[in-house]
Subunit: 252 residues, 8 copies
């Protein structure tokens, strides 16, 4: 039973065309077996997307260019902001055919088209990357956070082996409302950053490294075991995930 | 809005006391925020337990004897069958104070009291154990399956290093409708059993072994990689889980 | 000693041509050293395949197209249903040369040709997939279950992060006799499904995910540790294995 | 060179008692070797603690009762709020001797004494626990968040195998500004919760479980691989860490 | 159908009392369902134990002293050599009550009583231990090999960090027919020994070590990856397993 | 100081041309710093190779075709048997240029040329493979054992899920002096084989499998935890290593 | 505030143009927010590089040829020694365009150009490699150590399975001031070497091996668990890291 | 043949009492079978201990108090410095009975008695510990380094979450010739320290931490993946190993 069916039913009860007992039985039956779709739950979901400040995001991983383009076209047609992560150049070629004004950030592997009324976050999201090799993941975080309506600044190549590079940027650190720290290898940078600031630090381990970095496990464990408080961790290489959480916080 | 409130509302719509638009708004609001408790979802849950043929089970692990006894008393008072797994002797002492006719199977670490109208399973559940050291887990499976209304037989100490012991019991194997195979060490027994029968085999790895058995990991991996089809695996030492699934299948 | 040799031997004993002691000795000797092949054990095996409802299945993995085609031709010539899993397009080209009416389901990587008298399963097997990326494994399960004589329905893209999608399909869930749940990433869907139904749930972890999903280990562990009862697990990406067990159960 | 020494030096330069070249050399030398302590960096640190809203916290793990009591007395004497985590009953006995009005929350293993002027967080922190066995970690989070000046509510025993328990509490979920989800076993609850709300979700895996839960690894991996966005993870059993981050966010 | 039943059946066929077709049917039926027990397969097993040169061995792990004593008494009553591994002092107390002349080697955790006619191995089994801490496992190997009829010599405390200790014993190495090398920590000794001799080397990793030895995993991996040929490995701490294989080889 | 230099020195001492003190000093000096090369230790090594029955073996892995060919030519020129493992087709092309009569077993990835006087092993080495996919590793074992002078037979495709295939070959099993068992997936076959025979069983795990086989780890752990005695394990896919040890045993 | 600004400020204080209070405030402000860059900390860093004896090193991994060439040109223009590790042939082509006299060591994957005044190390660095397959990592160590101003010698193919090869080179061992030992497979060589010398041994595990070497984990664990003292370990395949530390020690 | 036997032999050759051929044969024979013990290799070993600056060290782990005392008495009787690591209080009680003036450092679990002529190291060894919980391991390093003749200073509780504590001690850092960094949790401190100094840094991971620290694995991986050069790692909790290497370096 969808909302318009409900409206009709209640009108008919009011008109005496349907007995209340019948209406009760129909309603309960509908709710018991399928409470959501009949009530237009998808609409409620749309409302939720609006509150969160970002529309549905397409994960490019494991989709063909044609599949990505098809979903992208649908989203853009609804007037929503388009965001595709882990997008290949081929996927962008396919998307551009149907969404000509989409942009491709190849270092971030992200396709986006900003439109609609994205609410602005309240402060600055700072994205810190330990090394140049962590750049791709950091850029995924930057572009995601921007698409979600946040002011973003970058601070790259400030690994813990040369602390002065980070310490010299304390004024920038102190301006941020949320900080995303992207690091591979030993993953020590979030601990150091969290010791210097009093805002939430979201740590994103990367699979950068070799030998016993085990595809990011060393960085992940380092971040989970951070001796600093105020740090939480997302999945390896998950720049999108870090930025999503940062944006949620920044919109509080 | 609970069912009786719904009944009243609809009656008032029929009586013209409430406009259909008002009723529509009240209903949608109620459903959007708390669709379940107001519709007596818990009752549905009771119905579900009745259909499955077994009531709520208490996991004794990490509960004090007093806590176990308190929940046990509640269940028994409702007239349901009592089943406590991973129950210590101390827990049984506490339960016996409030449920005097409960039984303790110490080798299975299970407390039970059969009452109510448990539907009977259709066939035989056979519980096979590879070695004498797997006995505790196997007994947990046996007592669980019995409490859930199944006929159960045991076939213990038939490990793959002495195949003739298993092969000699083919008549018993062929009488089973579902087979639970409990094994530690290399966990090879389920593969061998599944090659001899044409009924579902539920494999329960145990933490029995030493050295590179790694607390049951070797057995678990062996079972997951079974070269025989018709085998599925539950958690290490989870005799209860194996029996629960076997009972579900046996009640189909 | 094969059955026709046995027939002859017994006739000669009856005819007095062979002394019973000689026959006894010959029989015992044959049984002790090679009890199976001389008695036509392969035939017994055929009988077993007939009871289980599915003939021998070819695992395409690690076989050349020519090898797959050769075994396929043999199976089809015996009048049995053909099922090849993990089959490449090249393998299908080779099979089609010798089995022209075989079908290739490329998303499932399965070649099949239904023939012979496959017994029908008793109820519905429902194959649920958490995300679009789990589709290939889910399709392997679907096509396998169909080839084994079962009615199958699909329910895809109902991951736990958007529960309403699953909850809206409760009528479909309640119609199933066995449910196969295919999921990658955190592998939480089987727990949720098992909490909503009272039939066996077979969980198939997939290697879908990135970062700390470790090729399906995260999903596998999630499923093994399910807090719901009535769930068992097969190997990562093993859609065939899940369907084989589901079919066994559905034929009980 | 501390600030007052700097003041004197500059005065002497102004007075012509020290040549500018001498002053330059002395300053550079001081900065090069020890830029921080001479500038009163510790003071800056005190300022930082004041901004964050919580004073130094004592980790009881690996300290003797006497050591805990000694540090606790020092903190209380400075007028700061006392918070000791992982505190044994023995540690509390020792603390009570020197801080008679301290409180011990034994289920949370926390000693605390609220004093001074803790700034209040802006909204509600909701602490959700999947099972009764996760209670200790959840309570550590609750007591930590309370000590840090936050309003906290509990929602316990709402694991994913019985979704209706969680769904029935959506009004409570929607009132929270930050949610901490504590879960062991398969760790699926954060994914489900994050799909229902639009606020940050901090996931705390617990070591609760048996068999292949591997001391919380299964839950940790499940949470890291969450298919829902807006989730970040802290260390296994780290209720304190989850609450620290939640409090930081709630004070933004 | 057991052998005497077979004899009777054939006699009746010869006597014309049973038609050959009936006999054929009865025989095939018997063989199909239970080919082994009716043919006295257990007897064959006894014969096999006799050929291998060692009787059934009791694994003390996970058995109560009473259980160990009960099985031990049975074995001794049959006139067989008694061997109990992983035997506690309590188990020995219980065994001594029923087998007064049994011996307990406490450093090897082995109870034994040599009797019957154990065939002698052909050469010398040399048991080498890297460090003093590997002694318990080495002694388990020594006492097992002795009980199985082998001449055994020990060479202890010859770890690779002081090669001259091992090199000085080359005459002893060259006298061995099979060598068991017991080592923990990095497990390098088997590689070095195998490079000095031309006889089989059986490597037994021990759980001795700390830090990243991970309970013997480091030694196990070291031995599996030996750059020397002629080395095979048994389970961690499995001195019994190493000696069993060595004895088999030495009896060839 | 090499042996001929020693001969000269002693002659000169006898002739009075060198004082004994001088000779003593020269000898001690030589021995202390380089006891081996000066004494022609390489020759002793040659003697050892002769005793072991097999010459130096070339591991093709990580060598260019030219490097393999260069070492191969050197070995053949010395009149020794040539054995190259893990040899690519390209490596064989290069070897054939310099060793025209070498043979390439492509399924075993082995190049060999038998020459010289290889001592014959005393009995039969039986190489058993669980599945067709284990064939490459099994063939590496077969060709290695043959090159080392052993009679070898094959028994392939006798996995534990169809026990009758193995049981039917007991006469062959009982003829072997050493058995090599090659298996992937759950690695259960060595346990079953060892329970049927009384000769050494060398288990070779293979990386065959998918999902949670983890590149052979499941099979490796299964074999290490074998519940049968008389089994030892070599590295994953190490058919050469298994055959080297089997040959050593067979030459005892 | 950089040093020349400081000089000016102090001169103006001396000249009475700036009040000491103003100067104090300006200085403290500068130090508090950015103590490093304003004081020319980069220069101090340059001074540090000069003391350590090696300039900035470029890690080629994950950089495009153009990026490598760009940084290389900059370093060479400053007159510093150029060292690029993990450099592909393509990267060298790009570098040669801008640094024509650079050298490429392809087996070491290193580009270098020695210039400037690198201080010489005091003794000999000996690089030992266990097998020919470890050569690439060993050469990375050799070329790095040479570029850092050290005398280096090689000792390759001296694995522990043929000890005499190593023992014959004791004079060379005794001449080294620091030893780098590169080994894959079981990683036992550092233990043996450290037992023969009294200088620091730096162990470099390599990913060479197959089966259960797990990409160098077996070698890494072997080295960490070395029973010899005086051994420390760097990351898998990290020849550069081993040489950097060796050079630091050799310059003490 | 020991050196004095060699002297006699050569004298007899010179005297014509032994033919040079006979002497040659005797010498070669002796060298081939046991080149080391006859040449007093143990003596050479003593010489080596003298050169390294530290005598034999007793690892208390896995030894009874009586065993420790027995070896300790022997070492002290030879006039050597006594060093027992991982020594329990009980072990000290036993040692004190036979070595009354031995000292027990209970926080380091070390028994020592300095005597003989230990050569002094050339510079300062600085032992840094990240947290108070790392103290036991750090003290093991301190007491070991002191016993080996080094000047040692401590710098404790300077974890990376509060960088100013470390930065304030740069003068101390710059005075050290070798630095040992002891850290648990994320193990980031060695990277930070190595970025501040130009001397060798030896990293000692500790098993301190909880949750996903996995007994020191997180710290170990963090240290192995250090982005700073000049860092090498020893086993988890191996303070003795770190100090042994540091002392070797400091004595160069």
């Amino acid at each position: 039973m969808n909302p318009s069916q409900l409206k009709t039913l209640l009108a008919r009860v009011a008109a005496g065309e349907v007995a209340p007992e019948q209406a009760e039985s129909a309603l309960l039956n509908s709710l018991r077996t399928a409470p959501f779709e009949n009530l237009g739950f998808a609409r409620v979901d749309h409302h939720r997307a609006w509150r969160q400040g970002f529309p549905e995001v397409i994960l490019g991983l494991g989709k063909t260019p044609a599949q990505v383009a098809s979903v992208a076209a649908e989203i853009v047609r609804q007037g929503s902001t388009l965001l595709v992560t882990r997008a290949s150049a081929d996927a962008f070629d396919a998307v551009r055919d149907v969404v000509p004004n989409a942009t491709y950030f190849d270092d971030a592997r992200i396709i986006s088209l900003l439109q609609g009324d994205i609410p602005r976050g309240q402060g600055l999201i700072l994205v810190i990357a330990a090394g140049t090799a962590d750049r791709a993941v950091a850029e995924e975080a930057v572009r995601t956070a921007e698409a979600m309506g946040n002011d973003v600044e970058r601070l790259y190549d400030v690994g813990v082996a040369g602390l002065h590079r980070l310490l010299a940027e304390q004024p920038l650190l102190s301006r941020a409302r949320v900080i995303i720290v992207v690091a591979g290898m030993e993953g020590a940078l979030p601990s150091v950053v969290a010791g210097l600031v009093s805002v939430p630090v979201i740590a994103v381990p990367t699979s950068i490294g070799y030998g016993a970095s085990f595809g990011g496990v060393a960085a992940l464990l380092g971040m989970l075991n951070s001796c600093a408080s105020g740090v939480a961790v997302v999945n390896i290489d998950n720049g999108f995930g870090g930025a999503s959480l940062a944006s949620l916080i920044n919109h509080l």
